[in-house]
């Protein structure tokens, strides 16, 4: 333990309104504390810059998974375990369930939350690429009111985000698709043209590993060509990225010939900005991202 524990505060607000009032009264002074799986690691490393935390873990307004005809909406405090246990998510948003299952380990999954993961804003986070593929929107709340932000616009730079100091991430909303069916394993390819989904996290282990590259994709095929597609990656840029140029190319191109796949891989390489770091190299990340794209396109 490299921090002086007595100087840290963790106060339990009476309710959500009380939390927002405190954050509004002293913006940036009180920071939310959910499951603690990121913040406690920083505390133990002596790297936790903030000292005053609001214990939002039990705020019931931020829990729960609700489904309407058009959306599935998750409270920001939904844990990875809760994600995996949801039948609706397993059926219609399987990439999110895959990401949750590959995050940390059982013990992390019981405590880590989607809202915390988003707010921690690591470019290597596992669930965000799936959220990008699913066109997620975030509801941000404060004492001033509430607003919705497309998740694709939320991260503006490395650890920078469209979240004011007095705001909390409250909900994550996913639009439902009529053609959503769960086909996530590489090689599992039904004959019908459905919304085929793919998730692959490449790391040193199958658990407790931060990814070297993480790829989430979904495509709707029509007679051998791509009618619609979503591609998102983690660990290859300062934020998680939606590869819109690659998507545009794939929508515009005709049949997926080897030449078309190769062209798509070139465009992908231009949309990402991998670096050499502690975990991997730019060259490896670029090559593997391209390989994962090819594997995804085989579905």
């Amino acid at each position: 333990m490299r921090s002086f524990v007595p100087q840290f505060e963790l106060v339990t607000p009476r309710n959500l309104a009380d939390s927002l009032a405190r954050m509004s009264a002293e913006p940036g002074v009180w920071r939310p504390f959910a499951g603690g799986t990121d913040l406690m690691v920083l505390l133990e490393a002596g790297k936790l810059a903030q000292q005053r935390f609001l214990n939002i873990w039990r705020l019931k307004e931020l829990h729960g998974i609700e489904a309407t005809r058009e959306h599935v909406t998750l409270g920001a405090l939904t844990t990875y375990t809760e994600v995996q246990r949801s039948e609706t998510l397993q059926q219609e948003f399987p990439l999110l369930c895959r990401a949750a299952a590959e995050t940390g380990s059982v013990a992390t999954q019981n405590r880590g939350t989607l809202g915390g993961n988003i707010a921690n804003a690591s470019p290597a986070a596992d669930s965000p690429p799936a959220l990008l593929v699913y066109d997620a929107e975030l509801q941000l709340i404060s004492a001033r009111g509430a607003r919705w932000v497309p998740y694709a616009q939320f991260h503006t730079g490395y650890k920078q985000m469209d979240l004011a100091l007095d705001e909390l991430i409250a909900r994550i909303r996913l639009p439902r698709r009529a053609d959503a069916t769960a086909h996530v394993a590489p090689g599992f390819s039904p004959a019908s043209s459905a919304w085929r989904q793919y998730y692959r996290k490449v790391g040193t282990r199958s658990a407790q590993a931060i990814s070297k590259v993480c790829f989430a994709g979904a495509a709707h095929r029509d007679n051998g060509r791509i009618a619609d597609v979503r591609i998102a990656l983690g660990s290859v840029a300062p934020t998680v990225v939606r590869c819109v140029k690659t998507e545009e190319f794939l929508r515009a191109t005709g049949a997926l010939t080897p030449a078309a796949v190769q062209k798509a891989q070139e465009i992908l390489a231009g949309e990402i900005a991998p670096i050499d770091d502690f975990r991997s190299t730019a060259k490896y990340r670029r090559r593997v991202a391209q390989n994962l794209l090819a594997e995804f396109l085989q579905l």
Binding site: P6, E9, E44, S105, V106, A207
Partner: protein
Amino acid sequence: MNMAEKPDKVRIAMRVNGREHVVHAWPMARLLDVLREALRLTGTKEGCGEGECGACAVLLDGALVNSCLVPAVHAEGASITTIEGVARGDELSAVQQAFLEHGGAQCGICTPGMVLAAVNLLEKCPNPTDADIRAGLAGNLCRCTGYMKIFESVLAACKTQKEL
């Protein structure tokens, strides 16, 4: 920050291994330290202090958690099971007995966390496949056994539990 403004310790009431306890702890003290130092339950170990190794695993309201990542405040009102609470008096649980019989422990430092992870796995999944066992224990690192005897112990424990 002047001395008068410093945060105080907080009162935390929790149930540990079936017994009620009240401790006074710093709000961000690790549950791991509260268990070991305030309650003198030293069976729970610190391996990494960053939630990667599982040596500190306990059950918190039935969920497996890394106690090095749980702040004391989150233990308020909770029901916690540590390794000391797995046996019933002198009667070892099926998992513990299996570890003894199948060589699931060598130095023993990972063992409390492994046993809790295994107990939790079998509660949720009484007939785990090999893949289920590996996934359920993926958050627990062992430097001695090479894992095979641990997995064999868990499989043996399933069989014993089925016979009961």
